[in-house]
Amino acid sequence: MSMTITEKIMAAHAGKDRVSPGELINCRLDLTLANDVTAPVAIKEFSKLGLDHVFDPDRVVLVPDHFTPNKDIKSAELALCVREFARSYSITNYFEVGKMGIEHCLLPEQGLVLPGDMIIGADSHTCTYGALGAFATGVGSTDLAAGMATGECWFKVPESMKFIYHGKMRPWVGGKDLILYTIGDIGVDGALYRAMEFTGEAIQDLSIEGRLTMCNMAIEAGAKNGIIAPDEKTKAYVEKRAKRPYRFYYSDPDAAYAEVKEYDVSRIEPQVAFPHLPENSRPVSEAQGIELDQVVIGSCTNGRIEDLRIAAQIIKGRKVNPRLRVIIIPGTQEIYLQALREGLLEAFVEAGAVVSTPTCGPCLGGHMGILAKGERALSTTNRNFVGRMGHPESEVYLCGPAVAAASAITGMITHPEEVMGGAD
């Protein structure tokens, strides 16, 4: 019987030959993850079980990234709670400030998430790791507590939706534009409870960074997971990072899908999602000229080295428009160091942008760039909900790094071609 990649990974971790959509199964976990906001609640629930150990201290990852470096006393106490738990339970993969990064940039980079894995994280963007051919999904703190205790989690096997991206991407179009376009097409609950499987020529053309960006936003369409079959690029990315065995799974050619969507990417312009839902995406040409107060380049969606290179290509040698603030946040210490060595950070600072330590910070209205009433930001992050980056009457527009960088120069939403010149 044929299965999708998602079904195969679930079956393998449930100890079954096959599983079907709708079936309730119990799966063995390869990794569990929590951060400084969700871990304290999980630790409180975990403590009710009265255990003196977690299921495997090498497979519980704790990353204080949301409100760190600590933004206030209460946040410091949350971070302290996580730090003390990590010490008491000998958690090997606890990442202190100085080593930490934004969790979904950090875990792939450190080789902690691998193809064929079954991963839960108490963070909705855990679905990012599907880009490496893993099953990864976000859960709440209580599910995470149960996972830390037992190394298992129950799931309903999702139906799969297949997305086929044909053709070649236009200049300045990347993974962020493809996923914003897709969410614009199907809506914020267009893949509710389902697996989103991304395939096609354009997906093969995307770098691992671009694929991580796409799977990262599967949750914004309501999906349980996003997933991309591994290939040579995946192999090259993981073989130098992995410290344990991994396995490549592929969907059978005749696997069943609840729905198949096909797109010709050569027709897709760089995208901008208008407030207050990611489904409000439109071509950048329809957003040109919208004035901005702040630009943010970073986050678990677009805080990787490729994103910073694209931004620097546009910003280098130019000046940030004096009417706005530009905040650039490398996703991890390794990305920060790489950007430093390549001269990207120098280009940003000389242009008048600020470069922050890795943190989720402004993406969720935590710190490091909160908006006042009536202010408007353009951001490479993943959510533009009401009040997401600050005051309930502020606005967030979403885009990829190229549009963000071009707009940083002009002070209004701008097609990168306007700053860099056309391709022809």
């Binding site: 906001v37 009710k48 933004k71 108490a122 909705s124 507590a145 209205g365 309930p392």
Partner: protein
């Protein structure tokens, strides 16, 4: 379990940032979270919500973040039950895990109005509008999830399972 309370209506796609904005998530104290429950959807809600309140919302309730702070805030605010046509999947799991009753019923979500008095029989999944007299059925939980609910949440369920294995 019988629930009786006043209906508070909300729209489609109410996300977890509206249920409990991240600016208040430097704590997980239920009472502190409850004071800001639904703040970015309706700033007056936390101040006027009556004990036993029933939130009736549109599709995809609880979309966005995995924050368990969202159902915790709703429960601690005194809300007895949430009714919607569909729930975002992480919110759905979280509500079951912490013991916040939720019911999927497109008919009830459509028909119930702000201020209506409703009675909910959770075991039967029956929703009665005491104001207008309508009756609606909710999609029942799968038996496995019913088990988690009957044990009083996931942690109790896991504790029993771990005992069985020991």
């Amino acid at each position: 379990m019988q629930i009786k309370g006043r209906v508070y209506k909300f729209g489609d796609d109410i996300d977890t940032d509206q249920i409990i904005p991240a600016r208040y998530m430097n704590t997980y104290d239920p009472a502190e979270l409850a004071a800001h429950c639904m703040e970015d959807a309706d700033p007056s809600f936390a101040g006027r919500v009556e004990p036993g309140a029933v939130i009736v919302a549109g599709k995809n309730f609880g979309c966005g973040s995995s924050r368990e702070h969202a159902p915790i805030a709703i429960k601690a605010a005194g809300v007895s039950c949430v009714i919607a046509p569909t729930f975002a999947r992480i919110f759905y799991r979280n509500a079951v895990n912490i013991g916040l009753p939720i019911l999927e019923s497109p008919e009830a979500a459509e028909a119930l109005k702000e201020g209506d008095q409703v009675e909910v029989d959770l075991a039967k999944g029956l929703i009665k509008n005491l104001t207008s007299g309508g009756e609606y059925h909710a999609t029942p939980f799968p038996p496995f999830m019913q088990g988690i609910i009957e044990q009083g949440g996931l942690i109790n369920y896991v504790r029993e399972r771990m005992k069985d294995r020991a």
